[in-house]
């Protein structure tokens, strides 16, 4: 129960960070996806169901907070899929090892690419902008930025794993 409460509070914190101060980290209009990073963490730490549920709820909240022109359900859909994919890498016996190793970055990259691909294919329907060019210009840089930010928790857990 306590774990669920802490995870919920941290989820809210990441949601607030993503909708408020993340723009200060923008590099040429590319921002990292803190929510996705948190979902990957949930997947590795708590398993596939927690990550899938977290992905859906956080995505839905993000959709609601993203302004009147956003497509409600789109972030929910792509983050659910990302959480589900990331959940495949859950191994109860290797949690700290995965969080503190290159696997965490690899899972982040895979989940982020799946997320961005799904997102752009639906979001850009009928806009005249191709999803492949959007993925190249925004999806891959966002993935790289998110993965780079993922190095911070990875290093923390690597240190914890060593000690």
């Amino acid at each position: 129960m306590r774990t669920v409460l802490i995870d919920t509070l941290l989820s809210l914190l990441f949601l607030v960070l993503q909708t408020t101060i993340i723009r200060f980290l923008a590099v040429q209009m590319i921002v990292p996806d803190l929510i996705l990073l948190w979902i990957v963490y949930l997947a590795v730490r708590r398993g596939q169901i927690a990550a899938t549920t977290g992905g859906f709820l956080l995505g839905l909240a993000f959709d609601l907070l993203s302004g009147p022109d956003s497509m409600l359900g789109l972030a929910a859909l792509s983050k659910t899929a990302a959480g589900f994919i990331a959940g495949y890498f859950y191994n109860q016996n290797k949690i700290t090892q995965t969080l503190g190793g290159y696997q965490f970055i690899l899972i982040t990259v895979i989940a982020s690419l799946v997320h961005n691909l799904l997102y752009f294919v639906i979001f850009l329907q009928g806009s005249g902008i191709t999803w492949s060019s959007a993925l190249l210009q925004y999806g891959i840089p966002t993935t790289a930025y998110t993965a780079a930010l993922g190095l911070l928790p990875m290093l923390v857990f690597a240190r914890r794993h060593l000690t």
């Binding site: 723009r23 302004g67 009147p68 359900g73 639906i122 850009l124």
Partner: protein
């Protein structure tokens, strides 16, 4: 039988969970614009505005010096332009009086600070610290000293959400200031805009200034949108490709103005009647 079903459910629970959430998301996508969702979203505008306002005190120190230099040089060139425009306005007034033309109305502007930007994965919207209480309404144009920024797409009493030009859903009737060639401005997904529906024989050159057209029902005519950066003939097409660099630097946008201009409803109604 029930036990067997329960066992199957337990065995594939991850797949049932993901299927349920994916299905719910798809249903939500299908019922995107219902009145109930609009109400929830108007509350969300207030919540996000308040949150973003709380964090808006954080300045971007790295850009301040550069911005100062840009503003000084802009100030100098604008002062020069203002004096020339004053001369032009007087001349225009005189000529209009001679021709008995109506004077174009001026619009009040509402100064607004940007308290939030949603740049994630092409959503590209901004949150302004002004709302309906200040006279802001949906579809009002947003400008800054460089030109057109976008339009208001949502407003609560204290905050408003603006859709910037670098947004997949925005369309602006525009024209080339020099040759008066008309087109539609859309975002091409990159750092620039595209002037579309321009016939290949029309006179558009790199360096031409693009402004809003009088055909627009959303924006007043004459607002600077950008400059033509390149033109290209598309083989086998009746149209040419015109790339436009936006006049506004969207990466360093901090202060804007909302123009208290709304589409003439009688005009749009007449247009709808004739062209349903």
């Amino acid at each position: 039988m029930v036990k067997r079903l329960y066992d199957i459910l337990l065995l594939f629970k991850e797949y049932f969970v993901v299927a349920f959430f994916l299905l719910t998301s798809v249903i939500l996508l299908a019922v995107n614009d219902t009145s109930q969702i609009r109400v929830i979203r108007s509350y969300a505008v207030v919540a996000v505005g308040l949150l973003q306002d709380t964090f808006s005190f954080i300045p971007n120190y790295f850009d301040l010096r550069r911005e100062n230099e840009v503003l000084r040089s802009m100030n100098l060139s604008l002062s020069d332009e203002v004096s020339r425009l004053r001369e032009g306005k007087l001349e225009n007034l005189r000529l209009r009086q001679l021709l008995e033309l109506k004077e174009r109305s001026e619009y009040r502007t509402i100064s607004a600070g940007i308290v939030g930007k949603n740049l994630q994965l092409l959503r590209n919207t901004i949150t302004l610290d002004v709302g309906e209480r200040d006279g802001v309404r949906i579809n009002m144009p947003i400008v800054n000293e460089s030109g057109l920024v976008g339009k208001i797409i949502g407003a609560s009493s204290h905050y408003a959400i603006g859709q910037i030009l670098l947004n997949k859903d925005i369309r602006v009737s525009a024209k080339v200031q020099r040759s008066r060639v008309d087109g539609i401005i859309r975002w091409n997904g990159g750092r620039s805009l595209a002037l579309q529906s321009v016939a290949r024989t029309y006179d558009v050159q790199a360096g031409d200034v693009i402004i809003t057209s009088e055909y627009s029902s959303l924006f007043p005519a004459g607002i600077r949108i950008g400059t033509v950066s390149a033109t290209r003939q598309i083989p086998g097409s009746l149209f040419q490709s015109v790339e436009v660099s936006p006049a506004v630097d969207f990466t360093r946008l901090e202060e804007v103005f909302v123009m208290t201009y709304l589409a003439d409803t009688s005009r749009t109604a007449a247009e709808k009647r004739i062209r349903p």
